[in-house]
């Protein structure tokens, strides 16, 4: 494992611009693309967070007139859409990009330019969707986009057009990303990095990527049919023409339930890296952790209709999906217990990353339990569309994904920058966010059970929910303060943080064997792996230095990914012109870009 000391390898590549905006636009380096993903996700996190604060300000007291119903609909729709597609997913993908190649001992992903394309399509899709605010016509049909609410009859104007077109772009980005990471993990592992030696985060990335490539085409079809209904006058979802809105629900949730595992599995992976590191123990039950991750991915495909108990699918369908949903709690519970068992008897270090990881265990378990309550179809009929559901999925997505991602940020920031995030500020960040989070969402269990429906812009005083709602609002603003602290920490530590070496946490996996930040080529010599914890191995004799490798060749930067991505943006954006042949202009640009891409020298 003596790889950090290897002599500087010769790196040959095309004309690399080292700095400047052009070098970022044309980059195909997985680490830079990871940083682009992460930064964009952070900016969208601030946007989505601001929307959440406006929502909570409106709900702070009964019959409030802070924002009207029109604005409120746009706020909760864009809050949900942004947090799912523009924050949680790209934040995970940022770590897929930066960390996975390092964990498996690779120099890049399998298709570097495709990786850049995924990013630019995602960015353009997100900006396109949010640009609707400038026209005052942001999407307003909820993040689930139920028809007929989003059909042409009941949703005139550009609101839903922006949503359906923007989301289509994000879907394309995700499929390409999934293909790339499956290939990378299957094919670019260093010698000796067998599947059952891969770090858990890499494993969860693999499972998530499979979910991406299988779930995204389903929502693509759902969206295409909606596009046809809205732009070309078909009746896929319109009862007046014989169509059935329930088709949308099925297609949406067939995607939507795998999607929630797309959101949570990467966070599970991060927690599974952080807990062993700060417990000084290998992960308890590695194999069963891998298998339960895979099992969650599989069963995640068979539970979608538990979102539709109130649709009236009949007792047989309800029973099937209720049982499947209860079963999926088993592999999830296995993970929780294995994390606890990893900590048991370990020498624990409560760094900020560790605190966030423990926060995930505590919070996600609560979200998991309320999920089991939903799985009972008769109980779900009471809870459906109330704040109880809002409490449940924030406990899983915020308590799981967002807290888990923060654990990942504090854990891997030194790898990316060579500096630690400030631990004191980090602990303030953690406690404010953790308490603020529970203060916001725990009361929502009662608010929901007492009958307050979600997605309604206000409530009557007589319901007696004023103080609970005020509590939730106070919690939300506490989280706002925590986020400001985090931003301050991020900006300050990037310049002034404590400088650290390759392995500040004394962690076990390969990414910690190379300098922080890693050189462009990652590994001067591709390492050979002999165990699951290569850096915790004590080998009697240092192996002879490996034979010098031939010159490392890295792919040169390319501007074709952003050109093709711009073509994709035009293709979907030009639908707004409402003339059927205009989007073909975008298709032509895509074709032009792809042709040049295929024949670009050096790739």
């Amino acid at each position: 494992m003596a790889i950090t000391k290897a002599r500087a390898a010769t790196v040959t590549a095309g004309p690399h611009a080292r700095g400047g905006i052009w070098s970022w636009i044309t980059t195909v380096d997985h680490k830079r693309i990871g940083i682009l993903y992460g930064t964009s996700a952070l900016v969208f996190f601030l946007v989505g967070g601001l929307e959440a604060l406006l929502i909570r300000a409106q709900l702070a007291r009964p019959e409030n007139g802070f924002v009207g119903p029109e604005t409120y609909n746009q706020l909760f729709t864009m809050h949900g859409t942004t947090m799912v597609f523009l924050v949680a997913m790209p934040a995970a993908v940022a770590f897929f990009n930066y960390i996975v190649p390092l964990q498996i001992g690779a120099r890049d992903v399998a298709f570097p330019r495709l990786n850049a394309l995924s990013y630019w399509v995602f960015l353009f899709g997100g900006l396109f969707m949010n640009s609707s605010f400038l026209l005052g016509q942001a999407p307003n049909g909820g993040w689930t986009g139920y028809v007929p609410l989003t059909g042409p009859r009941f949703a005139p104007g550009l609101h839903i057009d922006f949503w359906v077109l923007g989301l289509s772009m994000l879907g394309i980005s995700s499929i390409l990303g999934g293909v790339n990471f499956i290939t990378t993990i299957i094919n670019l592992r260093a010698p000796g990095m067998r599947l059952m030696r891969m770090p858990l985060f890499t494993w969860m990335t693999l499972v998530t990527s499979f979910l991406l490539v299988t779930a995204m085409p389903v929502i693509a079809v759902a969206l295409i049919l909606l596009i046809f209904d809205r732009f070309f006058g078909t009746s896929f979802y319109a009862p007046a023409g014989g169509g059935d809105p329930v088709l949308w629900q099925h297609l949406f949730w067939m995607f939507g339930h795998p999607e929630v595992y797309i959101l949570i599995l990467p966070a599970f992976g991060m927690v599974s890296e952080v807990i062993p590191t700060f417990s000084r123990k290998p992960l308890f039950g590695y194999a069963i952790m891998v298998y339960s991750g895979i099992l969650i991915g599989f069963i995640g495909w068979g539970v979608w209709s538990h979102h539709m108990f109130a649709t009236g699918l009949g007792p047989i369908a309800d029973a099937f999906f209720a049982i499947a949903t209860m079963i999926i709690a088993i592999p999830t519970g296995v993970k929780i217990f294995n994390w606890l068992a990893t900590m048991w008897g370990g020498s624990l270090r409560f760094s900020t990353a560790m605190l966030f990881a423990i926060g995930v265990i505590a919070s996600f378990t609560i979200g998991g339990i309320s999920g089991i309550m939903h799985s009972a179809a008769p109980a779900d009929l009471q809870q459906h569309d109330t704040y109880f559901v809002v409490a449940h999925f924030h406990y899983t997505i915020f308590g799981g994904t967002i807290l888990g991602t923060f654990a990942g940020i504090y854990y891997w920031f030194p790898k990316m920058t060579g500096r630690l995030l400030d631990e004191r500020l980090g602990k303030w960040h953690f406690w404010l966010m953790f308490l603020g989070f529970h203060l916001t969402f725990f009361p929502m269990h009662w608010i929901g059970l007492l009958g307050m429906p979600r997605r309604i812009f206000t409530y009557y005083d007589e319901l007696g929910l004023g103080s609970l709602n005020l509590l939730a609002t106070i919690g939300a603003f506490t989280q706002g303060v925590a986020v400001v602290l985090f931003l301050w920490n991020l900006l300050r530590s990037r310049r002034h943080g404590v400088v650290v070496g390759p392995n500040p946490w004394n962690a076990a996996t390969l990414e910690w064997s190379i300098p922080s930040p890693p050189p462009e080529y990652n590994f001067a010599v591709i390492p050979e792996v002999h165990s699951r914890e290569p850096l915790w191995e004590r080998r009697e004799a240092t192996p002879a230095p490996p034979a010098p490798e031939p010159a490392i060749h890295l792919p040169p930067p390319s501007h074709w990914p952003i050109v093709v991505a711009f073509g994709v943006l035009l293709t979907f954006g030009l639908f707004l012109a409402n003339v059927w042949w205009v989007p073909l202009g975008g298709v032509a640009l895509v074709a032009f870009g792809v042709m040049n891409w295929a024949f670009e020298p050096g790739h």
């Binding site: 293909v179 490539v213 059935d244």
Partner: protein, 196 residues
């Protein structure tokens, strides 16, 4: 294209070329895409409020011919790959062009069929059958179109003498795509045309 997989790692962990792994993954994704479109067609079968419906309008003999044409093109594709692997430039030129030609012929049949239906009053707006039929077969046709352009690009490469034995993988990947699009058509032809 082959180099793309090898510049960082001389050998992959599985021994399979990355382009192949990636492309098979993509094909898996496409299966879900067409699966969802076909399912939409199936759940809406017989649900149209007005005519014309499938058994009134679908021309099975004509589509059998176009299906035969498309299936034949898959055979040409196999021969094209074999020619490139042998290093036969003439063979590659011949079979690639024939594959693309048969693919275009299929598209011609589809264009004729669409026009015919339009004149008989079937549009995507007319009823659920029209909507789900045109979207399903239209997306398949778009895939065939992409395939034809891909094949013609390879043909131009062969014409310039840039498609040697070392480039067989490029043709193999194009072949994977072409055969996949063919298999999808077999499913569509069976479920939409034959089983009414």
């Amino acid at each position: 294209m082959t180099q793309a997989a090898t510049y960082t790692h001389p050998a992959t962990a599985t021994g399979l070329d990355s382009w192949k792994v990636g492309f098979w993954t993509f094909i898996g994704s496409e299966c879900l895409f067409f699966g969802s479109l076909i399912s939409t067609y199936m759940v809406y079968k017989g649900e149209s409020l007005v005519g014309p419906t499938s058994h009134e309008i679908l021309n099975i003999p004509l589509t059998s011919i176009s299906t035969f044409v498309l299936l034949t093109s898959s055979l040409m594709m196999v021969l094209a790959l074999a020619a490139v692997q042998r290093g036969s430039r003439r063979g590659a030129l011949l079979w690639l062009l024939l594959t693309a030609w048969f693919g275009s012929l299929f598209l011609g049949f589809q264009a004729f069929e669409f026009t015919q239906f339009y004149h008989e009053g079937l549009t995507p707006q007319k009823n659920l059958f029209g909507a789900s039929f045109f979207v399903l077969t239209g997306f398949h046709g778009a895939h065939v179109t992409v395939g034809v352009i891909w094949l013609l690009t390879l043909w131009v490469l062969a014409l310039r003498g840039r498609l040697g034995r070392a480039d067989a993988l490029k043709v193999e990947i194009a072949g994977l795509y072409w055969h996949f699009v063919d298999v999808v058509w077999i499913a569509i032809f069976t479920l939409v045309y034959l089983i009414q």
